[in-house]
């Protein structure tokens, strides 16, 4: 009986070890975005290439569209740029959020690599980015016809992630629009 007490620390640790093992397969960063299901936050900012045009939330138009957070200092943004051009050509409107960048660098970037965006919001202080809960660039938000954020995607968009993550949700949104029209 006395000996049994000496086994207690071992038993305690084994229980703990099981939890630590399970913990390895969980992702603490995978917080469901608090903004999914919420409307796009309000903003009033300049754009990168259109002089002193001031854009607001009302300028984001489309049955569904992407809001893509990018910057010239972000290596991943360069990688996903060609995919964004393709997506834009396929008819999906993309709005850029130029995050903590300079006008000179970002205009040059859009000139050099071509511009997939309807326009790029010039978010120099990162206020819109903070309101969107952005960790870093690139991040992309899928927004539906009612201006509701349906998905937040952190990381580089490529053919695979576009087909697996975005396409099904876009199909759902299209269905919803069709249903609402039918009513």
């Amino acid at each position: 009986m006395k000996r049994f007490v000496l086994f207690l620390p071992l038993l305690l640790f084994i229980v703990l070890g099981v939890f630590l093992y399970k913990g390895l397969f969980l992702n603490p960063q995978a917080m469901p975005s608090a903004l999914e299901g919420q409307p796009v936050p309000a903003f009033k900012l300049l754009t990168v290439r259109q002089g002193d045009r001031v854009v607001t939330k009302a300028d984001l138009k489309g049955d569904f569209y992407l809001l893509n957070v990018w910057a010239t200092w972000c290596a991943g943004c360069k990688i996903e740029h060609p995919y964004l051009l393709d997506i834009s050509k396929s008819g999906v409107p993309i709005y850029g959020v130029n995050y903590r960048d300079t006008i000179e660098d970002s205009s040059k970037w859009l000139q050099d690599y071509k511009d997939p965006y309807q326009f790029s919001i010039f978010d120099v202080n990162g206020d819109l980015g903070v309101n969107l809960g952005v960790y870093g660039a690139p991040e992309t938000f899928l927004i539906d016809h009612q201006g509701i954020i349906r998905m937040r995607y952190a990381g580089i968009i490529d053919t695979n992630s576009w087909q697996v993550k975005f396409m099904p949700l876009i199909a759902t949104i299209k269905q919803e629009i069709a249903q609402e029209k039918a009513l």
Binding site: K2, R3, L6, F7, P9, L10, F13, I14, L16, G17, F19, L20, Y21, K22, G23, L24, F25, L26, P28, Q29, M31, W73, R100, N125
Partner: protein, 659 residues
């Protein structure tokens, strides 16, 4: 070429460590003294080649060898030299090499300074250390090799060190912390050797205690430096956030505190043997658990390293082997004998035991808070996070209780104390402390705050009770003072306990009397806070070696006199394109004036955060006192080699081993 040599040196070090973990044990088992004597040279070999590997990695950093992946990730040609050297342990891979270097340094130090101890016992201890070293070297070489090359196409420039880490804090904080963490491996190895031989007597405790004190003191410094760095570098104005990574360093410290006290009981009274061994295992296990939490990414933290499931799995296996192995050994080999010495309720033993239980409870609450999000998530009950409110609510009362015990334990005698005597000695002090505590918040702040009363009362109690006891101890029978009468380790205790009192004052004052203001400031405008007037004189552009910055110019006046000129900065690091806030701080012993720049607003105005933090510097002074007290205990004469005692001891233990 140099990185390959570094890699090779580490592999040679591993070979030495593998031999170290096997050969001496074989020698002990087969009674072959020649094999036993291999323990020391093998330890030196492992140490030398690890050091060589570390030096070669540093040289590669200084040479800007961007064909090495780790250096590309951590360094840049523009990085100043001292940060290039610190960048070696700025990331996961290099910090592991530093870990291994520290481990082998401890083992080497033990090998050098243990000549007077029993040869077979030391061989066992070094062997156990060898096993731990093997584990960490394998972890480094197999999952996180810093020497990995990017060939044939390598970049001409590195990505630069994270700007947060480009600071004097980074240069000194990690080495101290790792010295502390890995130092507990020595106490652990002593405990395992004790379980192997069944030898857990007073002599064992006397050998273990100085090593534990050394590790504990380094850990104290390491934690304080981390806290200091967070305070002035992160620009949030806080100094402790109960972040999982901070907790990971704090838990071994609390258990280590329990361990050095339990060891003193084992050393002087031969009691609490199993308990002491269990604490020694726990202190090192918690260090490993901390490493696991930080490196595997299972827990969300502001400063966790990039997570990687492969690494997480490896270190979990390491953790399981070490902890399951040692606890199983403990379960079977812990002495079932009742301690030979008996003690009554009113005795030093009881109070130290009560303190130990308090410390272990405190560790358990921190551990629970740290792991709770993981437990809840693993059970599929959602995502939560545990914050400061939990820790403050459960941790503070436990510490308050411990401080009461800290006043009594030095006064009361071993074994048996007449119940009346210590009450007579401390009764008046207790009453005075209560009075002081109740009066303090009214006199200082003009209003009564319960926790301030508790904090200041406890600090007063601890200081006066400790000094009263010290006065009794230095008074000769003829009434003269003799400071050399108590041992050096007694004075170490006094200094460390005083440090604790200073810490309580600092924490109480800064928690309840700190003032803060978030304001918009135009050029030329002023704000007032706690009797200080802050005038914003404008911004200046300044340039550093690898950053450009906007520097605010603030003059601070107190009653019309200028007391400080603060220059907080907003830095833009060129390579990492990361903005950084560098706070402007003016320190005196009674207060810090702290300004951090927020975002630029229109018309040259800035968002500014201003703090007045009373007595925050007491926190760093307290940590220095506590660590210094630890070093004083460690260097006590009784832990030093005694030539005459050596021979008898060797014969003694040789007998016990042969039995």
């Amino acid at each position: 070429m140099i990185p390959e040599l570094g890699n090779f040196a580490l592999i040679v070090g591993l070979a030495f460590a593998i031999c170290l973990s096997v050969i001496p044990l074989v020698g002990v088992a087969s009674n072959n003294l020649n094999l036993v004597r291999y323990a020391r040279p093998l330890t030196f070999g492992a140490f030398f080649f690890t050091l060589l590997s570390y030096v070669l990695l540093t040289v590669s950093f200084i040479n800007d060898d961007f064909s090495v992946l780790y250096i590309v990730k951590q360094s840049n040609t523009l990085l100043p030299l001292q940060y290039k050297m610190a960048a070696v342990f700025g990331g996961h891979e290099g910090s592991l090499v530093l870990w291994v270097l520290m481990l082998t340094t401890w083992a080497g130090a033990l090998a050098v300074s243990s000549k007077q101890l029993d040869e077979a016992f030391v061989a066992r201890v070094l062997s156990v250390l060898g096993m731990v070293i093997v584990g960490f070297m394998l972890f480094t070489l197999l999952t996180s090799n810093p020497f990995e090359r990017l060939l044939p196409n390598f970049p001409s420039e590195g990505r630069d060190l994270n700007p947060l880490l480009q600071d004097i804090g980074l240069i000194v904080h990690p080495p101290m912390l790792y010295l502390g963490w890995s130092g507990f491996s020595v106490a652990f190895a002593f405990a395992i050797a004790a379980l192997m031989t069944g030898r857990m007597d007073a002599a064992w405790a006397r050998w273990t205690r100085p090593w534990t004190l050394a590790a504990w003191s380094f850990l104290t410094i390491g934690i304080a430096l981390g806290s200091w760095w967070a305070y002035y570098e992160l620009g949030w104005g806080g100094w402790w956030f109960w972040d999982p990574v901070e907790n990971a360093s704090f838990m071994p410290w609390i258990v280590g505190t329990a361990l050095i006290h339990a060891l003193s009981v084992t050393e002087q009274r031969g009691a609490f043997r199993n308990w002491t061994v269990l604490l020694a295992i726990s202190a090192f296990s918690l260090s490993l658990l901390g490493t696991f939490l930080v490196r595997s990414g299972v827990i969300n933290s502001v400063h966790s390293f990039a997570s990687d499931p492969e690494r997480g799995m490896f270190i979990l296996m390491l953790l399981c082997i070490v902890i399951v192995g040692s606890l199983t050994l403990f379960a079977f080999r812990a002495s079932a004998l009742q301690g030979t010495s008996k003690f009554e309720f009113y005795s030093k033993e009881t109070f130290i035991l009560a303190g130990n239980i308090g410390l272990v409870t405190a560790t358990a609450t921190v551990l629970l808070g740290t792991l709770y999000p993981l437990l809840v998530d693993a059970l599929g009950m959602g995502k939560i996070s545990v914050g400061p409110p939990y820790y403050n609510a459960v941790f503070t009362p436990i510490i308050a209780g411990l401080v009461v015990l800290m006043g009594i334990a030095p006064v009361i005698r071993w074994k048996k104390n007449k119940s009346g005597t210590f009450r007579k000695e401390l009764g008046l002090i207790a009453l005075a402390s209560i009075g002081f505590g109740l009066a303090f918040p009214l006199l200082y702040g003009g209003e009564f705050i319960g926790w301030v009363a508790v904090g200041m009362g406890l600090a007063f109690w601890l200081v006066t009770a400790t000094l009263k006891n010290a006065k009794n101890n230095i008074s000769n029978s003829d009434g003269r003072m003799d400071f050399s009468r108590p041992t050096q380790s007694y004075w170490g205790m006094v200094v460390a306990h005083m440090g604790m009192a200073v810490a309580i004052v600092g924490v109480t004052m800064v928690s309840y009397y700190e003032t803060q203001l978030d304001v918009r400031m135009d050029v030329g405008s002023k704000v007032e806070l706690s009797g200080y007037e802050f005038v914003f004189e404008g911004m200046k552009d300044v340039k550093g070696p690898n950053y450009s910055a906007k520097q605010g110019q603030f003059r601070v006046f107190e009653a019309g006199n200028e007391v400080a000129f603060l220059q907080p900065e907003r830095r833009n690091y060129l390579v990492q394109t990361m903005g950084m806030t560098e706070a402007g701080i003016d320190s005196t012993i009674t207060r810090d004036l702290f300004i951090a720049l927020g975002d630029p607003l229109d018309n040259e105005a800035w968002a500014v955060r201003v703090y007045v933090k009373p007595f925050i510097n007491l926190l760093w002074i307290a940590a220095a006192l506590i660590a210094f007290g630890g070093f004083m205990c460690m260097t006590d004469r009784r832990y030093r080699a005694k030539k005459t005692a050596t021979e008898t001891q060797q014969i003694d233990s040789a007998n016990t081993i042969n039995v």
